[in-house]
């Protein structure tokens, strides 16, 4: 009992110290550097208490590719099954439940019907009222069984696969395939998709971004003006790189993630983000998700990042010590640490979704729930 009491006191004191540290960083108008010179405070950026899930507390697998928020329910696409977190418990769906494959790479919610679509390494599955229907390249018009991305818009399910893009019309059951034969796509390795009633964007690995105009029914393409090299001859002249991994389209703004930096496009002007001139923790970005036209979240191999249109925040276990870390970078490039006690489960971030002001993060070593702190 004594030992438990001592441990409990240490935890309480640690939390208290952490809280005090946090209030030092964000709560006052100025801070002082090592020699006592007053400096302006770091911008106030969202702070979270991260609760992390692993196989130890019911997650199907620690390698989490994707996460989807469905009201109070959380879906986690892992390497070994689809997890559903509901009422404090995890339930796992596997191939025994007719899931197309154990490795679930992507997730999408049909907000109209409540159905969840899961892109897997072995086909596309629909989870509807507990029933799983699976579409594969052999039993349906799906272009390929490796489904990297899925997005639902109206009655259409847009799919990104290892052999082209495709669309399932839920009304007619018709599959439409999009590849090098009928679009400007040069490569057919399609990594991500974002579908809206006006535009559909595909991140094509090695072939930039493909755009489909739903009204005009025409395709367009955005490439890196420098070609496929890592050179950036003129900043903000176009898409940062051809090797795109993720797209997000919101408020008529396109956000694009690549393995060599990220881009924002407003329909006329491009703005690119690189580690050397932004708060991005790494140019190697797996996933991007816009909050609106101004703000976005970035999942990189070196942590989770948030951009509010001016300032940046990075949330991760420290690269040096592994301890929880949060840093804020202001518009002038000043980087300030913010004392925190928790961080996402791992720096390699593969999926992001929002639950109100909370955030859920899929990482290579667990799923994280970032609970927003006032």
């Amino acid at each position: 009992m004594k030992a438990i009491f001592v441990v409990a006191m240490i935890v309480i004191l640690s939390v208290a110290n952490g809280a005090a540290g946090q209030s030092k960083g964000v709560g006052h108008g100025v801070r002082k550097d090592a020699i006592g010179i007053a400096k302006p405070l770091a911008p106030a950026m969202p702070r979270f208490r991260f609760e992390n899930f692993s196989t130890a507390n019911g997650l199907p697998d620690d390698h989490v590719f994707s996460v989807l928020v469905d009201g109070d329910r959380i879906w986690a696409g892992t390497e070994n099954g689809l997890g559903l977190y509901e009422n404090g418990k995890w339930k796992t769906f596997t191939t025994r439940d007719r899931l197309a494959h154990r490795a679930v790479l992507s997730l999408a919610l049909d907000k109209r019907t409540g159905d969840v679509w899961a892109g897997t390494m072995g086909g596309l599955s629909r989870i509807s009222g507990g029933r799983i229907d699976t579409f594969t390249q052999l039993n349906s018009g799906l272009s390929n069984d490796v489904v990297y991305g899925v997005s639902v818009e109206g009655e259409n399910v847009w799919v990104a696969t290892a052999a082209g893009a495709c669309k399932l019309d839920l009304h007619t059951g018709e599959w439409s395939l999009y590849n090098e034969r009928n679009t400007p796509m040069q490569e057919i390795w399609v990594y991500g998709v974002a579908a809206t009633p006006t535009k559909v964007y595909y991140a094509v690995w090695g072939s930039g971004v493909l755009e489909y105009d739903q009204q005009k029914k025409i395709w367009d393409k955005y490439d890196d003006p420098d070609g496929e090299t890592e050179m950036v001859l003129f900043k903000d002249q176009g898409l940062i790189h051809e090797i795109t991994t993720s797209v997000s389209y919101i408020d008529k703004i396109l956000w694009v993630a690549t393995y060599f930096g990220d881009s924002r496009y407003d329909g006329r002007y491009w703005h690119n983000f690189l580690t050397k001139d932004s708060g991005l923790p790494s140019n190697f970005t797996n996933v991007i998700k816009g909050v609106d036209g101004k703000r976005a979240w970035f999942g990189t191999d070196k942590g989770l990042a948030y951009y509010d249109g001016t300032n940046w925040a990075v949330y991760r276990p420290s690269l040096a010590t592994g301890k929880p870390e949060m840093t804020v970078r202001d518009a002038k490039g000043n980087v300030s640490p913010v004392a925190v006690n928790t961080a996402p489960a791992h720096n390699y971030v593969l999926g992001i979704d929002f639950q109100g002001s909370d955030i859920w993060v899929a990482t290579a070593k667990g799923l994280s729930h970032g609970i927003h702190q006032p």
């Binding site: 109209r112 019907t113 409540g114 159905d115 629909r126 509807s128 009222g129 507990g130 029933r131 229907d133 390249q137 052999l138 039993n139 349906s140 018009g141 272009s143 009655e155 052999a163 839920l170 009304h171 007619t172 059951g173 018709e174 599959w175 439409s176 395939l177 590849n179 034969r181 009928n182």
Partner: protein, 633 residues
């Protein structure tokens, strides 16, 4: 899926086709004039009412009768049963319901893909809304916000704005979604389906009751019905604690050789809800007293009795509800195979007319009204004595036409051993069942065959997958009598009437290509592949290996047999009759043994050597185009 613009032309052409068939058959058989004199049967095309469903107005003063063949809602005085009004609705109406307020009557017209909205004060159709495809029932939610429509072909439930009829979305339901029932408090809707959901080849079929949260209009749950292939109506006790669904439970994984052991189907109920906990399946059959094709169901307000129409047995089965609940609690899971079970709770069997379907109880539960579809009558049953108090004949022809007699023969189970099955057991509503059967004559475990659809079957002979039956009289007569019925033979006239009926069956409208509508770009590309004579490498495709060679003609068959390399180890021969392509999009699974779950699998899995047409040079998008074309057939 497209929506037909209007079905009037189709209906007329179908009518003409039916007339031609009848007259053609009359000429073929040479007996009709004599038969009609001798038996009352007539070769005329008569317009029967075919009452399918019934319901009372909320105040109990009117009885609404949904008449499928005359495409009407007939409004009767609920006391005198005199006609108040006949209201014309759309083609082949299949389901109807009153709004919770009782001010509107909604009718699902299955063949022209519309909902008729009737004002119950004026008894006029005030509007008709397009829906799709093959709407089979319709229910309004308790708040009057949404209409829910079960679409049999698209296997879903459409959610419409209840004021405008605008479709907002579709919810995935079971295959052949057909019947919707609201829970007593209206918070949930329960949807059944008439064809089994897809399962792995030669595994037990399964079905579901799709549970919809009516306020949120989303699927909340699916009640699993293992081994059930066909689901029909659902009813609830007034307290909402007991839900009951009528089902057919096939025994298709074992050879169909033991009809004498009750070996073809179990006719069952699935009970669910607070009274029983987990769902429980119970049989209605008893040795020598089969309750073939249970369909309509009603529970008395005091929860003492339950009445179930059994179409093939032409009777109403009466169940003691407290005894049923007691039995279900003591026998969880399924007792479908136990022919002694029903003696514990079945307390009456009431003979009614041909193919009894829909039922309705008066508000006090004292009378049960039964729609006898193939008699054009309504049976009024005293629920205390289990006797038919009266039988009301609906206005219409009193003669028995050849077609009507043939249809009665198709739907009855009286010809089979102990009255266990009828043609309609495997040809649900004169279509197909989505199942594979192991018939005895080929050897046990040999030549397992997928059940082929029979709509538009005229001019597709020979029959059977091995082409062994040269015509319908052989197919429907000696073969059926010997291998299915194992009992009474048809007399010549009955067999002929049955054949006339089967030959008259029209194909339902194709939703992927409406009459007069041009092919889409994808369908056109697919058609070019279907008829092509050269492969993508410029090499000529032998004529016999082109799609359009075997699948030629208006029905998509040249009526010859070929070995297309699909023979399995359990098959006695690889030479197979070329199946017709009529409405092939909706008749999965495919190939003679049903091993191809989808059209795609015919080529992606079962055609490695290009023996079932040259297809291995096609890209995935071209294969998709080919399938888009096939869906127009």
């Amino acid at each position: 899926m497209n929506r037909p613009r209007h079905n009037a032309a189709g209906a007329l052409s179908s009518l003409a086709a039916v007339c031609c068939v009848v007259f053609g058959m009359c000429a073929w058989s040479g007996w009709t004039a004599r038969a009609s004199v001798a038996t009352g049967r007539t070769g005329e095309q008569l317009e029967y009412a075919s009452p399918l469903e019934v319901l009372f107005s909320p105040d109990g003063t009117r009885l609404y009768v949904l008449c499928q063949e005359s495409a009407q809602v007939r409004v009767l005085d609920a006391t005198s049963y005199e006609t108040v009004k006949n209201i014309a609705v759309g083609a082949m109406p299949r389901g109807f319901s009153l709004s919770p307020k009782g001010d509107r009557l909604f009718v699902a017209n299955s063949w022209d893909d519309t909902i008729s909205v009737i004002d119950t004060k004026t008894l006029e159709v005030v509007t008709t809304w397009p829906v799709g495809a093959e709407p089979s029932s319709v229910v309004e939610d308790r708040d009057g916000k949404h209409l829910f429509v079960a679409n049999r072909i698209s296997n879903d439930v459409a959610v419409l704005d209840a004021n405008t009829g605008t479709e907002e979305k579709r919810l995935a339901a079971g295959r052949g979604a057909s019947y919707i029932t609201a829970s007593p408090d209206g918070s949930k809707l329960y949807v059944t389906h008439v064809y089994p959901n897809a399962t792995a080849h030669r595994t037990a079929p399964d079905s579901e009751i799709t549970v919809i949260d009516s306020a949120r209009a989303v699927v909340e749950d699916r009640i699993a019905l293992p081994y059930v292939a066909h689901g029909f109506h659902v009813a609830f006790s007034a307290d909402g604690r007991l839900g009951v669904a009528t089902n057919m439970h096939p025994k298709n994984l074992v050879p169909l050789a033991h009809l004498e052991h009750g070996g073809a189907f179990a006719d069952t109920l699935t009970l669910f809800g607070a009274d029983v906990g987990k769902p429980v399946e119970v049989p209605l059959d008893e040795l020598e007293l089969y309750a073939v094709r249970p369909f309509g169901i009603a529970i008395t307000p005091d929860k003492s009795r339950m009445f179930i129409t059994c179409g093939g047995s032409e009777m109403v089965t009466v169940v003691d509800v407290p005894r049923l609940i007691r039995y279900a609690r003591m026998h969880p899971g399924s007792s479908a195979q136990d022919l002694s079970a029903s003696a514990n709770y079945v307390v009456g069997r009431i003979a009614v007319g041909h193919d009894p379907r829909g039922v309705a109880l008066t508000r006090d539960g004292s009378k049960l009204v039964v729609a006898n579809r193939l008699d054009d009558t309504i049976s009024i049953i005293d629920t205390k004595t289990y006797r038919v108090a009266s039988t009301i004949a609906l206005t219409g022809p009193k003669q028995l036409s050849v077609l009507r007699h043939g249809e009665q023969t198709f739907y009855t189970a009286r010809y089979s051993f102990q009255g266990q099955i009828g043609c309609a057991n495997c040809h649900i509503d004169s279509t197909f069942d989505g199942l594979q059967w192991d018939l005895e004559p080929d050897g046990f475990g040999r030549d397992v065959v997928d059940n082929r659809p029979i709509e538009g079957v005229k001019d597709t002979e020979p029959f059977k997958w091995n082409g062994g039956n040269p015509n319908l009289p052989t197919e429907c007569g000696p073969r059926t009598e010997k291998y299915f019925w194992r009992a009474e033979n048809y007399d010549d006239l009955t067999l002929t009437d049955l054949v006339v009926y089967v030959r008259s069956l029209p194909a339902r409208p194709n939703r992927w290509r409406l009459p007069g509508e041009a092919l889409t770009a994808g369908q056109e590309r697919g058609e070019a592949l279907f008829v092509r004579g050269t492969d993508k490498f410029g090499k000529a495709i032998p004529e016999t290996n082109r799609c359009a060679y075997c699948h030629s003609g208006p029905k998509g068959t040249n009526q010859k047999s070929f070995d297309v390399g699909t023979k399995k180890a359990t098959d006695n021969a690889g030479l197979l009759d070329t199946p017709q392509l009529t409405n092939i999009a909706i008749t999965a699974p495919y190939l003679h043994d049903g091993s191809a779950a989808t059209l795609e699998q015919i080529w992606t899995v079962f055609n490695p050597q290009d023996t079932h047409g040259r297809t291995n040079d096609l890209t995935k998008d071209e294969l998709n185009d080919l399938i888009e074309y096939l869906r127009t057939r």
